[in-house]
């Protein structure tokens, strides 16, 4: 549980700065630092446990079906990283307090930073592969927010996007790799995976898992050829660069290498992929660090180079090299974070990061100069500083690499070359910026930064020196603990952290590195001139161009299918359906099944013929809309006759009610459209559509025939058997609607209610043009409300409402139900509107329809919720028989209440739509006509 707090406290901490900013900027920083400080305290409290060889764990099941659990572990490697993340994170919080200007939203910045801290802590403490990946993606997202913090700058936006794209793509690859790894081992539990190294390495999928996981690690740690995003991410505020791009996020990749070392390392493949990538990155980064004119650019490329160095160490497949790798992670984090912060101070106080302008700053900021010089010396590998120790271990390990056979001497040679370049750019960083003449055209007059802005650097430099002087008494315990987690049990090397190993080859290589570095720096102008021959390519341009090309291709592909044409969508939809169902029919051996055909009922045959004819007529008259509409109602009527003939009175009733309401709706809308549509389709197009429709109709008819002639086992028998005992109703259709599939119905009436409200809102205050005569130019009839119709409608109203209530009440046992009854009631009320007009009707029906629709949905929902009160699942229905005097035995079910909700929703929504659509023109009727 204490382990969970380490991750949980910073997560809670994301909220602190958002609230704390109201107390002022300094308080905000202190409050933000509080929770990570507590987490750090907890970590230190747990540290002795880890040192003694225990691995505290935490386990909480999350989604067992996916083998995803909230499982945490704190082994030595995790402990090391947790200390780095929290320790440097606290220093960064302090530093950012002084770095951020008044215009920057400090609360937002700290919130992003804490989110990032949480995800980083999650990565290093996860004990589940999927959970690790989850936090991995979270770092990509939160670093996107941090890099793009100054979102008004185009560079920041582009840099953030590029970082997200590259690391996000790597994250997907990592997920694939982890899934493969989980398949090989059979579990996502990291503790088990770590024990199964041999099983993984001998698996046939090893190569794929290795490549996919390495892609994830290399993109995150900016290894060649994915290094290009890191320099672009320097558009971030400097505290972000110091935190993400030196100490933590880019270390997630090498952390992954260390984490997977017991599982994946030890093979030749691992060496070739990891060590050689690391070597190339080391040299590439070091060379470009020498050339960059931007202060942070130099640091970015040197970070790439050092990440390459660490990667190479892990790739060398020897336990001692892994120790050196872990050690260099610590050292690099300390000196690089302090260098970034120093660069931030220079930028902050001088207003520029251009090395060509910055010169001789030691006169203005001597203290910062001293701190930066020590950090850079550590980076160069000067003795008595921590950088020297790990670099010498690196050089000595490079001598032991024999994987390249006869060419193995290349490895130490190139490693030395990398160190030479490293010393050279470190020297350049110090000499060009702080010495070497006077500053040129600085936007600001430089001076020392605020006291507390320097404090984080001082603490880190102190660490550099102390570790450099007394390595065995300071870090060897932590290193030992970390190494037991990385190196397979029994192979732990004897860690000998001494400054002096006597005169040996690595010492000579170190000396060559430092001497060579000075020489290269002295001759740097030759290198600049040499490099000037190459045309520099901005990765941003390439990246943006390729992104845009991908988007363009995708857009073209979308346009082919989704061009906004309804006809096109229908075409594709029908063609696909046709393809699949035709294929299914071709697969079946014969069309007709075993069932004997029924004898032909001539009345049905004639009806079917009429149905076809009126369907065709609907299409034929489609350009004369009113006739087409009349043909459509003929179709509807014939279909409901067919339903009645084949013993589905429920469907027949519903079909009729829907038919009428639809017709009224269409006519209301039709009034505002031209009465005739122009000829739109060409002959070829009509041909195509007729062919497609004909083929589709033929296939559907064949399919129907095939299904009807075969014995069918459907789920309907379940409903027939359970309708009375389970739902208390004899009308199976209604019991299905309000009980078995009640949740569906609830969703449907909710949609209906929302649609009604949306239409009400859309029609609000709409004014439409109204034609003053019909399509043949005749003026409208002067009589608005014929007297016969009005009296007929009024006398029909009570009868129709009675029918509606009757159909509603008996719906549970006989054909009927809330939906049909609601439509009947709505249609009758609409008749009243037609006969008497909106004004008259609204005076007498003085209530709004919106509350009725909403009340309907509420009643249905509450009925469902009511079953919770009695401890049953949502929408469980209850029913019973009651004896009421005079009326007799009555069955009441909660389903009836639910059905009442359906009824009210249907009435409310239908009237809301129709009456409001009708109202659109009423106030604007032309006054030409006689009253």
């Amino acid at each position: 549980m204490t382990l969970l707090l380490i991750v949980l406290l910073p997560l809670l901490g994301t909220l602190v700065p958002l609230i704390g900013i109201r107390a002022g900027r300094t308080y905000c920083a202190w409050l933000t630092a509080l929770l990570p400080a507590v987490a750090l305290g907890i970590t230190l409290y747990l540290a002795p446990l880890v040192f003694s060889g225990n691995v505290p764990q935490f386990f909480l099941p999350w989604i067992p079906q996916l083998d995803l659990h909230l499982a945490l572990r704190l082994d030595g490697l995790s402990l090391l990283f947790v200390l780095l993340i929290l320790g440097i994170g606290l220093l960064i919080i302090l530093y950012a307090r002084y770095y951020l200007s008044e215009q920057d939203s400090m609360g937002r910045f700290y919130a992003y930073l804490m989110l990032f801290m949480t995800s980083m802590l999650g990565i290093v403490t996860s004990n589940n592969l999927l959970l690790l990946w989850f936090f991995w993606e979270l770092t990509s997202l939160s670093s996107f927010l941090l890099i793009g913090f100054w979102s008004h700058q185009s560079d920041a936006r582009k840099g953030a996007r590029m970082a997200l794209t590259v690391t996000g793509a790597g994250g997907l690859s990592l997920l694939a790799g982890f899934l493969l790894l989980g398949q090989i081992v059979g579990t996502m539990d990291l503790s088990v995976v770590l024990q199964s190294g041999d099983q993984v390495r001998s698996s046939p999928y090893y190569l794929y898992a290795l490549v996919l996981i390495l892609l994830g690690a290399f993109t995150k740690s900016a290894q060649f050829p994915f290094q290009f995003w890191l320099p672009k991410a320097m558009a971030a505020p400097t505290p972000v660069s110091a935190y993400l791009h030196s100490a933590t996020m880019v270390k997630a990749g090498v952390f992954l290498l260390a984490r997977m070392f017991p599982v994946l390392a030890g093979t030749d493949l691992w060496f070739y992929f990891v060590a050689l990538t690391g070597l190339v990155t080391l040299l590439y980064g070091a060379y470009f660090a020498l050339l960059k004119q931007d202060l942070k650019g130099v640091l970015a490329f040197s970070t790439i180079s050092h990440l390459g160095l660490i990667t190479m160490l892990f790739g060398l497949n020897s336990p001692m090299a892994a120790v050196a790798g872990v050690f260099h992670i610590i050292n690099h984090a300390t000196f690089k974070a302090s260098l970034f912060m120093a660069a931030g101070i220079v930028d902050h106080e001088c207003g520029t990061r251009d090395i060509r302008k910055l010169n001789g700053l030691w006169r203005y900021m001597p203290y910062t100069t001293a701190l930066a010089t020590i950090a850079a010396a550590s980076m160069a590998g000067v003795p008595l500083l921590n950088g020297f120790l790990s670099k010498e271990m690196f050089l000595s390990e490079s001598l032991d690499a024999h994987m390249l056979g006869g060419l193995s001497w290349l490895i130490p040679a190139l490693a030395t070359l990398g160190s030479v370049l490293s010393a050279a750019y470190s020297l350049r960083f110090i000499h060009d910026v702080f010495f070497n003449g006077e500053p040129k055209n600085l936007p600001k007059k430089p001076h020392e930064p605020p006291r507390y802005m320097r404090l984080p650097i001082e603490i880190l430099i102190l660490l550099c020196i102390v570790v450099g002087l007394f390595p065995s008494s300071t870090v060897s315990g932590l290193l030992n603990a970390a190494v037991t987690a990385v190196v397979p049990a029994g192979y732990e090397p004897e860690i000998d952290l001494a400054i002096w190993h006597g005169f040996n080859l690595p010492l000579l290589m170190s000396a060559i590195a430092l001497g060579g570095g000075i020489l290269v720096y002295a001759l740097r102008h030759y290198i600049y001139n040499f490099h000037r021959q190459f045309r520099s390519q901005d990765p941003n341009v390439i990246f943006e161009a390729s992104t845009q090309a991908i988007v363009r291709v995708a857009q073209q592909a979308i346009d082919r299918f989704e061009n906004g044409s309804l006809q096109r969508y229908m075409f594709w939809l029908l063609l696909t359906a046709l393809g699949f169902s035709a294929y299914g029919l071709i697969e079946s051996p014969r069309l007709s099944g075993n069932l004997p055909a029924q004898s032909i009922d001539w009345a049905v045959a004639v009806g079917a013929g009429m149905l076809c004819l009126s369907g065709l007529a609907t299409v034929f008259f489609h350009r004369r809309r009113l006739i087409s509409l009349i043909m459509l109602s003929v179709v509807g009527m014939l279909v409901s006759l067919a339903f009645a003939r084949f013993s589905a009175p429920d469907l027949a009733l519903t079909q009729l009610a829907v038919e009428v309401v639809t017709m009224i709706l269409l006519m209301l809308a039709l009034f505002f459209l031209p009465q005739k549509t122009p000829k739109e389709s060409s002959g070829r197009r009509i041909m195509r559509d007729v062919l497609l429709a004909g083929a589709f109709g033929g296939v559907v008819a064949s399919l129907n025939y095939a299904v009807l002639t075969r014995p069918l086992q459907s789920i309907s028998s379940f409903f027939l058997e359970n309708s009375v005992p389970g739902g208390g109703g004899h009308n199976v259709v209604n019991v299905i609607l309000v009980d078995f599939r009640g949740f569906d119905t609830l969703g449907e009436i909710t949609v209906l209610g929302i649609a009604g409200l949306a239409i009400f809102k859309l029609l609000n205050r709409l004014k439409l043009f109204m034609p003053s005569s019909d399509m043949e130019g005749r003026p409208w009839s002067p009589e608005r409300f014929p007297a016969i119709l009005a009296s007929m409608a009024q006398s029909l109203l009570p009868l129709a409402l009675l029918v509606s209530v009757f159909i509603f009440l008996r719906g549970h046992n006989l054909p009927g139900g809330g939906f049909i009854a609601g439509l009947v009631a709505a249609a009758t009320l609409i008749l009243l509107y037609m006969a008497r007009g909106v004004e008259w009707a609204q005076q007498r029906l003085d209530f709004q329809f919106q509350p009725i629709a909403v009340a309907g949905v509420l009643i249905a929902t509450l009925t469902g919720l009511g079953s919770w009160v009695f401890g049953y699942p949502f929408l469980t229905s209850a029913f019973g028989h009651f004896h009421i005097p005079l009326i007799g035995d009555v069955e009441l079910a909660t389903a009836l209440l639910f059905d009442l909700g359906v009824y009210l929703t249907v009435v409310g929504a239908t009237l809301m739509i129709l009456a409001n659509l009708g109202k659109v023109t009423t106030p604007h009727r032309p006054s030409k006509e006689k009253r």
Binding site: M610, A617, F671, L814, M834, G837, K919
Partner: protein, 89 residues
């Protein structure tokens, strides 16, 4: 006896429906089509009632009742549309 009567009347109603459909299709004027549609509703009421008598079921009476009522409403709507354009004013 009843069986024969039902067959004959079903046939007659179907014939009526066919004539109605012809009138709906042929027109020529809009009121012709509307009158034909309304007559179709009436004839289908007859068909459903006969079917109910044949099956000896009371349920079909209600379907017929609904057709009578809703068919009336839809005829009114189309007529109102012809006369005034705006059916709810």
């Amino acid at each position: 006896m009843l069986d024969v009567a039902i067959r004959i009347s079903t046939g007659l109603f179907m014939l009526a429906l066919i004539f109605n459909l012809y009138r709906v299709l042929a027109g020529p004027s809009m009121p012709d089509r509307i009158a034909a549609l309304d007559t179709m509703y009436v004839n289908s009421i007859g068909l459903i009632i006969i079917f109910g008598i044949w099956l000896n079921s009371k349920l079909y009476f209600e379907a017929a009742l609904l057709i009578a009522m809703l068919g009336f409403i839809s005829t009114v709507a189309v007529c109102k549309y012809l006369l005034r354009g705006d059916i709810i004013e």
